[in-house]
Amino acid sequence: MPGPKIGVYVCHCGSNIADKVDMDALRDFAGELPDVVVSRDYKYMCSDPGQDLIKADIKEYGLERVVVASCSPRMHEPTFKRACEVGGLNPYLMEMANIREQCSWVTVDRGGATRKAKALVRSAVNKARLLEPLEDKSVPVDPKTLIVGGGIAGIEAALKIAEAGYKVYLVEREPSIGGQMAKLDKTFPTLDCAACILTPKMVSAAQNPNITLLTYAEVEDVSGYVGNFEVTIRKRARGVDEKLCNGCGTCQEKCPIKVPNEFEEGMGLRKAIYTPFPQAVPNKPVIDRENCTYYKTGKCRVCERVCPPQAVRFDQEDEIIKERFGAIIVSTGYQPFDPSVGKQWGFGRYDNVITGLQFERLSNASGPTGGKVLLKDGTEPKAVAILHCVGSRDKNYNEYCSRICCMTSVKFAHLVREKTGAKVYDLYMDMRTFGKQYEEFYNRVVAERDIYFIRGKGAEIMEDPVSGGLLVRVEDTLLGVFREIPVDMVVLNVAMCPRPDAQEVAQKFGIQRSADGFFLEYHLKLEPMKTANEGVFIAGTCQAPKDIPDTVGQGAGAAAEALKVVLLGKVTVTPTTAEIRETLCSGCRMCIPLCPYTAISFNEAKGVAVVNEALCKGCGTCAASCPSGALRVRHFDNRQLLSQIEGVCAE
């Protein structure tokens, strides 16, 4: 019996494939394979003329199967499926051979690459021969979006979606939204104050009726899939009735307990009942139960007595919220590098060695010093060193560049000069001022008096045991000399790192991490907000270090991705699910406990297993265990895969 008519299309991908694989030989080889009626090669199969070749051949040759040998199916499978569909062929009758990412780009010699490409094409033709037409199904989408992380990325995404008229839940772990940006003083390159540009957005987020703001809350569990994620959120007990509280602040004034304020990077104090900063949104305090006297001893309750609207609730319990969402945006931000792990910087040992965020708080008018740049003893510094690349571009810590530190350092240099009479020494490895108006800002600061830019990595900070002053050691790579610079304050511009719970969060949302620990985008350049988990998007510094403009851009971009899901109103569900061939099923029930989605049940009357195709995701774990071969995964069935294995092995 003659097999189905197959057409094979070999893509040069410009020179990406053609440089390593003999295109003529591959095309001719494919033409000789059984059932192949036409084989062609073309410079760019993904281009319109390339796709037109397929469409035309489907009509002309009556093709029943199409094989495209080109890049990874992760790149262009949808493109060629669509081309087939337009050409009148069921899209599931198309198979790809990955001869770029997994052949031409990874093989040293042309002979080997050509042999491998042939094997991959034969394998794809083998599978194509056995493919069957399948129909996509669709299910309705819940029109709500969940945004996890209320920094500037999450806020931006929430506003965009809400302004488009769709519902958003914005979940933030801290008592207020705002994220790291809320801590900053001035922002580069324009030097507008962070609060001035962030606060209006925070307030809009709180006031928009389409946004449900859940602060002091965390996502506990995520199940389901694109269009219908089922999410459990724990809203921690604030100890304050948010509806009654009017944010007057009397409780915070009267609370007798003082502890270091996380928001002030450990430099200021807060009370046990507190809002982290004056512009907090919502402007409703929380009770820190670990430090509150009442939770420790059962006594005090001062805040409760002084609260004018009687909003304090010591017995408030965590609230569990279960909601369904069509799309999810993860914007959980970054963790600043802890410089105390590198003893050479003296952080934690020397009082006046501080991090960039600590400097932001010192320089911020609402910070612990009221905006004055001061030493620990309250005096003004006379010389300040600013170190770039602390924990970045350093194989001992993080190999990547954190991108913001050069501009932050230049900004700090300017602020030190503006606020003090101190000399500034800026120690940089390379000055990377890459953004719009960044180089101009740098040039402006370079021209300021008493700022010395020294090209070299700050290697070590020592204390003069006699004077108590600091000594920064650096190799000045432009002068070719070793320098020791006496200063009284050192600012460490530390790396942006993945958050310590990044792995846990990644697993919760079914996303992956790249080698640097940040969340992995679907495509570094072309799909920076998508993840491997459809319907889950990422934005901001959880994906990689970035500055505010890029973070905001990604927030808006992720909003567009989420809107695309909810606006369509339905999602396509893959038909490549498992099915049971009842005549073969022996009723052993081995498959039932293996299914992670409990999609397989047992029909007592018939004595056979039954697959609920609405629940099945098509992983195929059941089929791998079925002793009688009754379980079959569409598009990845035994015959198809065995024939593929045959294909890659044959010579």
Partner: protein, 314 residues
Amino acid sequence: MTDARTKGAGPKAGLEGGTEPEAGAALKYSFFPGCSLHSTAREYHETAVKSMAALGVELEELEDWNCCGATALSSADTLLSYALPARNLAMVAEVGRPLAVACNSCFVTLNRANAVMASDTPWRKKVQEALAAIGRRLTRPVEIRHTLHILRHEVGLDRLREKVTRRLEGLKVAPYYGCQIARPRHQWGDPELPVEMDEVLAATGAEVVRYDRKTKCCGGALMTTKEDIVLSINEELLREAKARGADIIAVCCPMCQMNLDAYQGKINSRFGTDYSIPIVYYTQLVGFALGLDEAEMGFSRGFVPATKYLRKYA
């Protein structure tokens, strides 16, 4: 205070001469003294062997050992700089016991040869050929321990405290490790600020002062060629010790001891200072604290004698 590296203290799998010492049983090591310990640093040699013996650790001197080549050789002849220490390691492997080393420079040089034996660089083969030419054989790295590490982790602080009969209460000691011992990352808690000697000295009852320059370089052999620079960095080392109130500086390297001690007078005349800080080996202090004969601890051997600070404990 970190105790995190104790896990690394036991002999590692795949090492030659790595017999696991049983808990409580006597520990026995092959001992590589090195050239300095036979000449300028005799007191280090003697007090290391004696105080270790008092703590149940036997250091058996490796027979027919040769110079490790020190740090200078690697810039003159790379193969020889691996092969010289490798000969010693081959003999250690024959004895079958882990190796103890007291001198920091030897420790680094021997470890470097060890690293070559663990690598798959062409040097490994060349070193093996060189050894074969003299009828010796080394296939794998051997286990190397610094005596300070043995004191801290194998003997342990509890045992040390137990055995101390003269508590050095009130003696202010600056712990100076030198630049070689903790780098790149041998067996120490932190390559910039190790604490192992601090802990050992504290166990003798001494007051260990903060000493931020504990791993800064002493200039080493550069004293003979770049005296100006080396005098000034030694002045800085002494300056901090004095500022922190140290009576004496404890060292674990013959080179550091020599630079800080023998050149102290020169430093004083060059910089107009009046340092008079004895530089002693930690083993001298440990042995003394363990009750060993004061005369045998060599406190009077230094250019700046330590006797006046220690007499009161005798």
